[in-house]
């Protein structure tokens, strides 16, 4: 194989070796002849040459014997193809650019997919890494496990599981010292590190006894971010809220944990109270299967223990399932798979359009080379040989496109990653670096070869087919039809996305997003909020655990008499409802002492009333959340707290909290008028107050904009691709119609000479284009509907069908098609009958 490759790219070397070997033979022979037969040197050389025979012939035979003829031919084809590219660089460049766009999109997405769903986790035994999922009787997910349940699970699964660890996932908390910033902390059981092969680079990891001690393990990224320039941070202290954590050790750079973002610190699960990430301190469970153990057996052992857990009946565990998580995102889950395959399908569709277009271009180009090809055939080249040569040409162009595409894709990934990182840094996360690995190379290369074969094969077969002359036109029709279908699908996708963005922009959150601001004050101090409230520009200020519109609110299990349901909850102070603008529909809001003392009272949303009390009056009733009873004192309307596209949080519970208290870590503000000067005034007030930092008011409108960004990006990509597809389709239609006019000049001239009306002529010309167009739309429509159904059933809770989009896109396509046909049709109508007939 190596020799083969060498032969394609460095043919001279092998040839020189062969020549040297034969030369040695002849000279040795000549020397023998001189020594043994006493011939003169000249005579001996002549005899040796004669005896040896034709060196060229034998070298040729030798090459064939080495199996190099194919390589020779390939080299010839490559040279020929390269010469063709040099002769017509415009064509090759256009083809490579089209492919680069399509392959680039594929390579970029593949790189993301490969990094998160294919690349194994950087832990020991990644292939045996599983997550434990509790299911209740109805199959619904139960939330987490208590420390006691964890130890029981560990024991019960010991035969099949090498270890089971508990994890909180990533928690966003505020670090106060040595620097002040948002950081990511993960609470994990002490066996997390030894089980997953993590050894401290310096210091040590925490022990089981230290799971409840203020001891933390620093990640390499955390070291750089939080304690830059500190030689060995072991023994240093960092402060999260009121707690000083001692750094026990630092993990090496290659231990980044099990999440897609690297936490700054790992602490024991017993310290979650100190992090104050709200109620619901249950941990998730995950672990490693023993080598050879089956997930089913492990799940059975774990289930046997879990059904015995003492829990309220609604939360009782009926079954424990194991979900493989050898990568950052489990492809075990249907959602990930459906989402990924939808995106892949879209991108491959783009590639298919590109190939269809290139096939059309190539078809025209090879048709123009009919003379050259028939000459080669008459000189004895076989059909296979010529097809091979044409395929080499298309593949060479395709590989150029694939290389450019890979570069383009990588550029895009770098950009996307930078964007993601800037977002994540705001939230205190370090996003793992993305790698373009061999998989991406192979993927792009294979796509390149496949597309080269795809757009080269049909034209090559057509060009070497002499009997059926009508087929090229039918093939072109087919290609064009599929192009129309593909651009239809893409444009509908873009239009649906744009409509969704418009809808999101019009979604009413339930409060004034322009005048309500996230104060970004760290931490919220009661005195500062009081001073702000006194300012004339400020209509209200309040402390809150989570500012709305930053993603889903935290969830917990709630119970009333007889009903249990998951609810979303938030901690707010006595000014919150007034500040955000939520009018109480019944009862009252919190009083200041209730907020400061964390009284056992709750305000619920309308939706929660419907869900938990079937709409009956809830005031004075008891609501139990995670075992703690609260008295319902008020009802507020349903508003959107989380994702705009998910709509209002239908079961929302507000619990009392206060600035400086346990849970309220953020603050919101409402201005009377959202003018820049008012915002500036607010900044002045908080910066002149001691005790807090930050304060960079950001309107909830801006936060909502960030939510819309992914839709915007998707719409832009789909729109761009759809636009390109539309252009290519129009160009294809134009060339088909022009070709048909060109072919039928005489016929048209005759028709006109015989007095045919322009209408008839036009109808004849447009029949084919119309057929392509109609068949494309007819094929594209069900594809769109099927895609929208698949998407609707899985991931995005957005509207996937839109009448406007489905109505608009065919009109747009028809307009483009008409425009494309206009020029050749006019040319046909301007034909002088006599000129046309006299031709040839």
């Amino acid at each position: 194989m190596m020799r083969w490759i060498k032969q394609v790219f460095r043919p001279g070397r092998l040839d020189a070796e062969m020549r040297a070997e034969m030369e040695f033979h002849r000279q040795a022979r000549a020397a023998d002849l001189v020594a043994r037969h006493g011939l003169s040197e000249q005579e001996a050389a002549r005899r040796a040459r004669l005896e040896f025979g034709s060196m060229d012939t034998y070298r040729e035979e030798g090459r064939a014997a080495l199996g190099l003829r194919l390589a020779d031919e390939l080299r010839g084809d490559l040279r020929y193809a390269a010469r063709g590219i040099r002769r017509d660089p415009g064509f090759a460049a256009a083809a490579a650019c089209i492919l680069a766009l399509a392959i680039g999109a594929n390579a970029a997405f593949f790189t993301l997919y490969s990094n998160y769903a294919l690349r194994p986790l950087p832990i020991r035994g990644a292939e045996r890494h599983v997550e434990l999922e509790g299911r209740d009787r109805t199959g619904g997910q139960t939330y987490g496990w208590s420390p006691d349940e964890m130890s029981q699970l560990r024991q019960a699964g010991d035969r099949e599981m090498e270890g089971v660890y508990s994890t909180s996932g990533l928690l966003q908390v505020l670090l106060l010292a040595p620097v002040e910033r948002q950081i990511m902390v993960q609470a994990v059981s002490s066996n997390y590190f030894p089980l997953l092969g993590g050894q401290a680079a310096s210091g040590r990891v925490f022990s089981e006894a230290e799971e409840r001690q203020p001891v933390a393990v620093l990640s390499d990224a955390g070291w750089r971010r939080l304690l830059p320039g500190v030689g060995d941070p072991t023994g240093q202290q960092v402060r999260i809220r009121a707690t000083w954590f001692t750094i026990a050790g630092v993990m090496p750079g290659n231990f980044t944990g099990t999440e897609a973002a690297v936490p700054d610190l790992w602490v024991g699960p017993g310290m979650r109270e100190a992090l104050r990430d709200g109620i619901g301190l249950r941990q998730n469970a995950a672990g490693l299967l023993r080598p050879g153990a089956t997930p089913a057996a492990a799940a059975a052992s774990l289930t046997a223990a879990a059904v015995g857990f003492v829990r309220p009946s609604e939360q009782a565990v009926a079954k424990v399932g194991l979900r493989a998580r050898s990568t950052y995102f489990s492809t075990d889950s249907g959602e990930t798979r459906v989402a990924a395959s939808l995106v892949f399908a879209t991108f491959l569709l783009v590639l298919a359009i590109a190939c269809a277009n290139l096939a059309n271009l190539f078809l025209a180009k090879t048709a123009a080379r009919g003379h050259e090809i028939s000459m080669r055939v008459s000189l004895g080249a076989s059909r296979g040989r010529i097809v091979r040569q044409l395929l080499t040409e298309s593949s060479l162009v395709a590989m150029l496109g694939a290389a450019a595409g890979l570069a383009l894709g990588w550029l895009f990934v770098v950009r996307a990653h930078a964007w993601l990182s800037s977002f994540a840094t705001g939230a205190g996360a370090v996003v793992l670096p993305l790698m373009v690995d061999w998989r991406a190379f192979v993927f792009s290369g294979v796509l390149g070869l496949l597309s080269g074969a795809a757009f080269g094969l049909f034209p090559a077969l057509e060009a070497t087919e002499y009997k059926k002359r009508r087929r090229p036109r039918r093939l072109r029709g087919l290609l064009l039809g599929s192009q129309v279908a593909a651009s239809f699908v893409l444009l509908v996708l873009a239009a649906v996305l744009v409509r969704n963005i418009q809808r999101l922009a019009m979604v009413n959150a339930g409060y004034d997003v322009d005048r309500v601001f996230d104060l970004q004050l760290e931490p919220p101090v009661a005195q500062v909020l009081d001073r702000l409230r006194a300012h004339p520009a400020v209509a209200g200020a309040a402390a809150v655990a989570r500012v709305p519109l930053y993603g889903r609110m935290n969830r917990a299990q709630a119970e009333t008499e007889g009903v249990a349901a998951p609810v979303a909850f938030n901690y707010v102070d006595e000014h919150y409802f007034e500040t955000v603008g939520l009018a109480l529909e019944a009862g009252r809001g919190f009083y200041r002492p209730e907020a400061e003392n964390g009284a056992r009272v709750a305000v619920v949303s309308n939706g929660a009333v419907r869900r938990l009390w079937s709409g009956a009056q809830p005031l004075g009733k008891t609501l139990t959340i995670e075992g703690i009873p609260y008295e319902v004192i008020g009802v507020v309307p349903d508003v959107i707290n989380g994702w705009l596209f998910e709509g209002a949080e239908l079961s929302m519970v507000y619990l009392p909290g206060a600035a400086g208290g346990r849970y309220a870590a953020a603050s919101v503000l409402r201005l009377r008028d959202a003018t820049p000067s008012a915002v500036e005034a607010v900044k002045q007030v908080c910066r002149s107050s001691a005790g807090s930092t930050g304060c960079d008011p950001r309107s909830l409108r801006e936060v909502a904009e960030m939510q819309r960004f992914p839709f915007r990006a998707a719409a832009a990509i789909a729109g761009l691709l759809g636009g390109v597809a539309l252009l290519l389709t129009a160009a294809g239609l134009y060339s088909v119609v022009s070709y048909s006019v060109e072919q039928r000049r005489r016929e048209i001239g005759l028709m006109m000479a015989l007095g045919a009306r322009p209408r008839h002529v036009v109808r004849g010309i447009l029949a084919e284009a119309a057929r392509c167009f109609v068949s494309g739309v007819v094929v594209g429509l069900p594809v769109c509907l099927a895609l929208s159904r698949a998407a609707a059933s899985s991931v995005f809770q957005v509207r996937t069908f839109d009448t406007g989009a489905y109505a608009l896109v065919p009109v747009l396509l028809a307009a483009a098609a008409t425009a494309a046909c206009l020029v050749p049709v006019r040319r046909a109508l301007r034909l002088e009958p006599m000129v046309a007939l006299r031709q040839d």
Binding site: E17, M18, H25, A28, E51, G53, E61, A65
Partner: protein, 110 residues
């Protein structure tokens, strides 16, 4: 008197010659002449395509070395696969030769 080798038997001869020790192309030629008692005549150039063919089949391997007269030459030696093939071919040849001799020695059965 020397006779040209039968078509298809050159490969066997080369394997045999190389089995006696690594040799360069010209050495293989001399050795075949020598061990056949100068009875067999080989088209000299034709030796090389045959050598390359055997090398491609991995029956012999080659290496650049220095010849007796201190010149660079490519030396061929037998591989394990070549040794096995040689044994098989020898077996086959013996059968063939015995059959041929018997057939050609037959007389009319009167």
């Amino acid at each position: 008197m020397a006779v040209p080798v039968l078509p298809g038997t050159l490969d066997l001869l080369i394997l045999k010659a190389v089995s006696l020790g690594p040799q360069h192309g010209y050495g293989v030629l001399l050795r075949i002449e020598q061990i056949s008692g100068e009875r067999l005549l080989i088209e000299q150039g034709a030796l090389y395509p045959a050598l390359y063919r055997l090398e491609t089949q991995k029956l012999i391997s080659s290496e650049w070395g220095v010849s007796d007269n201190n010149r660079r030459a490519k030396f061929y030696s037998l591989t394990a696969a070549g040794r096995k093939r040689l044994a098989e071919e020898l077996e086959g040849w013996k059968e063939f030769a015995a059959g041929m001799s018997l057939a050609l020695a037959a007389r009319s059965a009167e």
